[in-house]
Symmetry: C2
Subunit: 339 residues, 2 copies
DNA sequence: AGCGGAGTTGCAAGCGCTTCCAGTTCGGAC
DNA sequence: GTCCGAACTGGAAGCGCTTGCAACTCCGCT
């Protein structure tokens, strides 16, 4: 393995200078820098991250913690984060908590303490107070996306507002009986489904409609889950809603399929709105509120790196939570209710 | 930060003994080992991966290279690999090549050479010969899943056979006009779609049917792509196939939706078969060939770790490729052709 | 009693970098 | 011409572990 000494010898300077030239820390004359860069490229020299990390305390790696992998939203955020990190020269170490209690515990007890990463990004995590304590103990900067974790800097969407807008769109079209497929269950941060429901009820009240608890039912954020709930909503022609607002696009798609199965036309007989702007949304012509997970991932990296950049201690201003953008995207699954 | 010396002091032994006790390398009396373990737990000591890696050359991390994240198959493999790695005490460093040419190049030129990982798992990668050369240069064990990379140990499905079985199922039901939505395009290993087409044609010939090139068209492995191709196949009632075999479940689902849209019933008017056993397959009642990506990921980790375990040089017996299991799963999208 | 060997343990030398500190050079100010 | 500071460079001390080697302790044997 070719080391820093080889490069130093090739250029005729000390390893210290090579280190400075390559890392950009400390003064090096432009001429020397160029020679070093050249020699390094020529020899194919790449610094050993272990040695560098041990000596400097910086590893140039960021840990990303996700509760799931195989969900569109998480994968989008993760992909964007990966790209941003690679572009900045950072490795991404993945911690997927979806592997059961034991793996989850060992991540929080062991893995995160190995000094392998300079900082962490946590995506929509629902964590126990004990886990929050561990996260703080690590003493490294953390940025959360989505699930607000007490005392940590969080990037989050305004879930109440996003839902209000979606529901407003339906009331504005004239709908009065609007059902809501809420989120719920398993591993998700529980604030999200709750806030989305609050926004929905807010919009109804604004339109002078009293929310009917019989028109709200939770599902698990999947197509199959949305389908099952929608089928129940639509079963009785007497009590059938004229619109469904689902807390995610996948559930909305399930609802569309359920409607089609019993011969209802979308949007003529039933309007459907989702949240996400999932990759399948255009395919189904789904009206939805886009929340740009890619931007969220990229922004999280940006924030984290800036914190690392100023060699800061983990920011104590954890309350400086940053709202994210979203937009209503009107396609062809919403229309005025049947006469 | 609490270090190995603290533990040593607490127990009253040398750091060397603590290291041996914690890593399991070298002899330590049972009594001492217990004390060390106890003290480490108590103090919350976790070895610094940088220091350990630098001193030993082992990092207890594995790199996983994927071409995409937001595809069901990749996410499944990745998730399983992550679980297996965590269980074995390994970190997983992710390299997603989907970020464009530049990131791809820097991964192959820089990131993989940082000595950050002990080994690599490459999932269904299509690589250039230059990239293969770089992979070899790294000098670490590599296990590939799916895309056979020349000279590297590969775990792969028998794509010809898997397709043959799917198509056989259709011919056995009596179908004669069977269309194939092939894979193709962008970033995927190109052997896969090719082999699947070969298996399809093989099965047809076995049933005495001459393949009709007009009944084969590629799509991009997505629902939308499958939908578009299927819509074309089904447009002309005269030349309409009675069955469609898609090279992936997502494309098969697209085909089902396309059929429904023009009023065809599945399976009465059209049979559809896919490959994968995607999470949505049960929801659509899709008959498919399951290929268990989770097992593939777990098996890849197992192989890689066993290679690392015996401190082996990267195995030169790269041709010892291992076939993987798959099963025809018959659900409700296939039946005899209309009379 | 003396000895050889197995089982444990400690010593100390690194692993390959980074960075503090001190030295050197050079240009300008006086 | 001298002096000072800024800009650059090299020496060397670690960073926190692992591990080869030597030392030491018990045994059971002869």
């Amino acid at each position: 393995m070719i080391g820093i000494d080889d490069v130093a010898r090739a250029v005729g300077v000390s390893p210290a200078t090579v280190s400075r030239a390559l890392s950009g820390r400390g003064p090096v004359s432009e001429a020397t820098r160029q020679q070093v860069l050249e020699a390094a490229r020529e020899l194919g020299y790449v610094v050993s991250s272990n040695a560098s990390g041990l000596a400097s305390g910086r590893t140039r790696a960021v840990g990303v913690i996700v509760p799931f992998l195989n969900r569109w939203f998480y994968a989008q955020v993760l992909e964007a984060a990966q790209n941003a990190l690679l572009a900045a020269g950072y490795d991404l170490t993945l911690y997927n908590l979806g592997g059961g209690v034991d793996t989850r515990r060992s991540v929080f007890e062991q893995f995160l303490f190995r000094q392998r990463v300079d900082g962490l990004i946590a995506i929509s995590l629902e964590v126990t107070t004990e886990e929050v304590r561990r996260l703080h103990e690590i003493g490294k900067p953390i940025v959360c996306v989505g699930g607000p974790i007490p005392g940590l800097r969080t990037l989050s969407i305004d879930d109440i507002e996003i839902s209000r807008i979606a529901t407003d769109h339906l009331t504005a079209l004239g709908h009065r009986r609007i059902a809501h497929i809420a989120g719920g269950g398993g591993g998700y941060d529980f604030h999200l489904p709750l806030n989305r429901r609050v926004g929905y009820e807010l919009a109804l009240r604004n339109a002078g409609i009293e929310p009917d608890p019989g028109l709200v039912e939770p599902a698990d954020f999947t197509i199959a889950g949305g389908h099952a709930v929608a089928a129940r909503f639509l079963a009785d022609p007497e009590r059938r809603p004229t619109a469904i607002f689902a807390a995610s696009d996948e559930m909305a798609i399930g609802a569309i399929l359920a409607a089609r199965e019993i011969g209802l036309r979308v949007p003529e007989d039933l309007s459907v709105v989702g949240i996400d702007d999932h990759e399948l949304a255009p395919f189904f012509g789904l009206t939805t509120v886009a929340q740009y997970p890619g931007n969220q991932g990229a922004r999280a990296v940006e924030l984290l790196l800036s914190e690392l950049g100023r060699d800061a201690a983990p920011s104590e201003d954890g309350e400086g939570n940053e709202p994210l953008g979203f937009d209503l995207v009107i396609r062809s699954t919403t229309a005025a209710p049947p006469a």
